[in-house]
C-alpha cells in the first residue's frame, strides 16, 4: 500500500510526535515521492527533510538570478510554503522533486526581477556588456556546482543556442530581450532556445542511460 490514503473513510491527520530520532531516520530513508506524500498528510518533518535536501539548490538558483541574498531567501521560503500548501502540483511522472522546485524557484525569481525596474535595468546593462564580451558559462564559478553530465550536455550545443539559453535562464531575460542583446532576429533566438533545450534533454537522457 505504497500510495495509501489516510485512515479508512478519510479521518483527519494524526498529530505527529515531534522530531524523535526514529522519525528523523525514517524521513531520511524515504525517497522524494514518499516525502511529498507525507507532506500531503501535513507531516512537518517531511517538509523539513525536503528542505534539507533541496533548499540549498533552490536558494542558489534564486540567488544566481536575483543577485542578492534577501530576495533569494524570500523566494526559497515561498517555494517550500507552496510545496506545503499544494504538494499535489508536483507530478513525479514529469521529473524529480528537485527539478520541480527549481522550476518554481526560477519562475518566482524572474517575476521579482521584472517587478524591480531599477535592478532590471542594471541587469540589462550588465548583460549587454557580457553579451558583447562573449558570455561563457564555463568561466562562471557556477560551473563548479554543475554536474559533469550537464556540462557535457551544454558542450553539445551550438554557441548561439548556449548563449541564448544562458541569458534567458540565468539573466531572467525574455527571448525578445535576448534577441536585442545579441542583435539577432527574435524568431532565431526563440528557435535556438527550443532546439538547445531539446538537444540538452536528449543528451541528459542518454547520459542517464549510460550510467
Amino acid at each position: 500500500m505504497g500510495l495509501g490514503r489516510g485512515p479508512a473513510g478519510g479521518g483527519p491527520a494524526q498529530p505527529e510526535g515531534s522530531g524523535t530520532a526514529a522519525v528523523k531516520r525514517n524521513w531520511q530513508a524515504a525517497d522524494d515521492t514518499m516525502l511529498v506524500i507525507a507532506i500531503g498528510r501535513w507531516k512537518e518533518e517531511a517538509l523539513a527533510e525536503a528542505y534539507r535536501r533541496h533548499g540549498g539548490a533552490v536558494y542558489s538558483l534564486a540567488r544566481k538570478v536575483l543577485g542578492e541574498q534577501l530576495s533569494a531567501e524570500e523566494v526559497t521560503q515561498d517555494v517550500f510554503l507552496r510545496l506545503w500548501e499544494e504538494p499535489e502540483r508536483f507530478d513525479p511522472g514529469r521529473g524529480s522533486l528537485r527539478a520541480y522546485l527549481l522550476t518554481q524557484a526560477h519562475g518566482r525569481a524572474v517575476d521579482r526581477l521584472r517587478q524591480d525596474t531599477a535592478r532590471w535595468e542594471r541587469q540589462v546593462k550588465q548583460a549587454r556588456l557580457t553579451a558583447q564580451a562573449g558570455y561563457d558559462l564555463e568561466e562562471e564559478v557556477w560551473d563548479l556546482t554543475m554536474a559533469e553530465r550537464v556540462k557535457e550536455a551544454l558542450a553539445g550545443l551550438s554557441d548561439g543556442e548556449r548563449r541564448a539559453i544562458e541569458l534567458a535562464y540565468f539573466g531572467g531575460h525574455t527571448y525578445r530581450e535576448v534577441a536585442s542583446l545579441l542583435q539577432e532576429p527574435e524568431g532565431t533566438v526563440k528557435s535556438r532556445i527550443r532546439s538547445g533545450l531539446r538537444r540538452m534533454h536528449v543528451s541528459l537522457v542518454a547520459a542517464r542511460g549510460d550510467s
Binding site: R5, A99, A168, R176, K190, I193
Partner: protein, 244 residues
C-alpha cells in the same frame, strides 16, 4: 495563438522568457494539448539541470518557513448541505439512488475532510505515470472486478476495474472534455460517507485510485479545478459495487 505558434514558444516559456500575454496564451493552449505539455516537461527538465547540483540550505530560512506552517493540519470540515440548496441535493439524490442518498443525508452531511481532497489530488498526480499499463494488467488479473458507471440515460459511461487489494483504475469513459477551470472528480460511497477518491482532470485518462473496503458505490461529478471536499454538482455517472 495556434498549436504551431505555441510550440515555437515552448522553449522560451520553459525558461520563463516570454512576455506575460504570451505566457497566458501558452498556458491556455497547454490546458488542452497533452503533446505540448509533454514537450514542455522535457524542456523544464533540461532547464532545471542547469541549476545547482547541491549547496547548503541557508540557515534561518527554515525557521521562517516552519513559523508559517501554523495552520496545519486544518480542522476536519463537516460540510452540511445548506437548506437553500435542498433542490439541488434532491436531484443529486435521485441520481445516486434513494437509499444511498437517504443514508448519506441522515448522516447530517458529508464527512469528507479537506484532507481527503488534498490527498486525492496528490494521489492522482502520483499515479499518472505508467497508469495505463497498470490498468491494463488489472483488467486481466484474476479476481478483479469490472464496474460500469452510467448516467441515468446511459449516454455517459465509465468503466472501472478494481483489484482484490482495493487498487482501482478508471479504464475508459465517454465523459466529454470539460471547459477550462473544471475537473471530473471521483467519489466513493463508504457506509454513509462520501469520500473523494481523486481528481480525473478535464479529459479523463486512465487513472489509479484506491477503494476502501466498505465502498458501496462509485460516482463522478464535474467540479471546479482543484476539486471540492464535498460534491457540489449532480452526479454524472454512478455504479454500485457488488459485495461478494
Amino acid at each position: 495563438m495556434d498549436h504551431d505558434e505555441v510550440q515555437q514558444l515552448l522553449g522560451a516559456y520553459a525558461l520563463d522568457a516570454v512576455d506575460p500575454d504570451e505566457a497566458e496564451a501558452v498556458r491556455d493552449h497547454l490546458s488542452s494539448c497533452p503533446r505540448c505539455r509533454d514537450e514542455l516537461a522535457t524542456y523544464r527538465l533540461a532547464a532545471a539541470a542547469l541549476g545547482p547540483a547541491g549547496g547548503d540550505a541557508p540557515p534561518g530560512v527554515w525557521d521562517r518557513i516552519a513559523g508559517r506552517l501554523t495552520d496545519s493540519p486544518p480542522p476536519l470540515r463537516l460540510v452540511r448541505p445548506p437548506a437553500a440548496r435542498r433542490s439541488r441535493w434532491a436531484s443529486w439524490g435521485a441520481r445516486v439512488g434513494a437509499a444511498a442518498a437517504a443514508a448519506a443525508i441522515a448522516f447530517l452531511g458529508w464527512d469528507v475532510s479537506h484532507l481527503d481532497a488534498r490527498l486525492g489530488r496528490l494521489q492522482a498526480a502520483v499515479s499518472r505515470s505508467g497508469v495505463a499499463q497498470a490498468a491494463g494488467a488489472a483488467a486481466l488479473a484474476p479476481g478483479s472486478r469490472r464496474v460500469e458507471l452510467r448516467s441515468s440515460t446511459s449516454r455517459l459511461q465509465a468503466v472501472v476495474v478494481i483489484r482484490p487489494n482495493g487498487q482501482g483504475f478508471l479504464v475508459s469513459t465517454t465523459l466529454p472534455p470539460l471547459p477550462p477551470g473544471r475537473t471530473y472528480q471521483l467519489w466513493g460511497l463508504s457506509g454513509t460517507r462520501l469520500v473523494s477518491l481523486g481528481l480525473l482532470g478535464r479529459a479523463p485518462a486512465p487513472s489509479a485510485f484506491r477503494v476502501g473496503g466498505g465502498t458501496r458505490a462509485l460516482m463522478i461529478t464535474a467540479e471546479p479545478a482543484g476539486g471540492v471536499s464535498a460534491p457540489d454538482t449532480p452526479v454524472l455517472v454512478r455504479g454500485a459495487l457488488s459485495t461478494t
